[in-house]
């Protein structure tokens, strides 16, 4: 399934001083995939769009902190 949150597993040394973070994540925001915006894409209702920060559903990609998502830790 498509996601704008990507993961990789960094090398873990047996001699690392801190408990390792085994999975690292990064964001690939939707603007990377759309190119020049095609016409007639689905929109949010206007009031909702004002609060979401975009009119276009395809570009909506909210980011939550690991704290808010109770330790999920990947910002999704």
């Amino acid at each position: 399934m498509f996601t704008t949150r990507k993961q990789y597993e960094p090398y873990i040394s047996p001699f690392d001083p801190c408990p390792p973070i085994r999975v690292k994540t990064y964001v690939t925001a939707p603007n990377l995939y759309v190119g020049f915006q095609p016409p007639n894409l689905p929109q949010f209702p206007l009031r909702e769009a004002l609060m979401k920060g975009t009119l276009w559903q395809v570009f909506y990609d909210p980011y939550y902190s690991p704290y808010e998502t109770k330790g999920k830790g990947d910002g999704s």
Partner: protein, 189 residues
């Protein structure tokens, strides 16, 4: 000229008295990838870009000023009632000594704002690529601030600002496509 609307682009709410968050947020106020740098960069570059994309830089540069105002409001709310003792705990005592509770254009590490943060090369592709990079850097900075913040109301405002960075990056990417003048020609390079 500009017409000023006496309200914020998005409501700013802060639920906890946590001046430490102000220390992080000041990065987006007077930092290299902050809203001031963004506004000055675009509003200055717009004069020497091809007419097709001037309007875009005008609009986005203007919106960055509205974002600057939101960041200022957040910082102000987080610090206005903090005691010197609380500011000291938050690591803001150098700021307090120099500025009391006044806002100032410096980054999270206290380095004052400088025009060397921005560039205008006069080459349209070069300038637009810098603008795309600036938006992605600002998006990333918002992610790191959200990660450090445990204030859900504040994060709500930061999420809005981050979403706008995504849209701005998208529009700058489209501006590059417009200048390439190969849209809709069904050529494969």
């Amino acid at each position: 000229m500009w017409i000023y609307e006496k309200k914020l682009q998005y409501p700013v709410r802060v639920s906890t008295c946590n001046p430490r968050l102000a220390k992080y947020l000041i990065e987006q106020y007077g930092g290299a990838d902050g809203e001031l740098a963004a506004a000055l960069r675009y509003l200055n570059q717009r004069y020497t870009l091809p007419p097709k994309v001037i309007g875009l830089l005008n609009d986005i540069g203007t919106e960055e000023l509205a974002h600057l105002e939101m960041i200022a409001t957040m910082v102000y709310k987080l610090t206005k009632d903090a005691t010197p003792e609380q500011l000291k705990e938050a690591g803001l005592e150098p700021h307090y000594v120099d500025h009391e509770r006044a806002l100032f254009y410096h980054n999270a590490a206290g380095n004052p704002f400088t025009a060397t943060y921005i560039q205008a090369k006069g080459d349209p592709i070069t300038d637009l690529y810098e603008d795309i990079a600036a938006e992605e850097k600002a998006r990333a900075t918002y992610q790191w601030i959200i990660n450090m913040s445990d204030d859900p109301d504040l994060n709500d405002g930061l999420r809005f600002l981050r979403e706008r960075e995504i849209i701005h990056a998208q529009r700058f990417r489209e501006a590059v496509e417009i200048l390439k003048e190969e849209r809709g020609q069904k050529k494969i390079f």
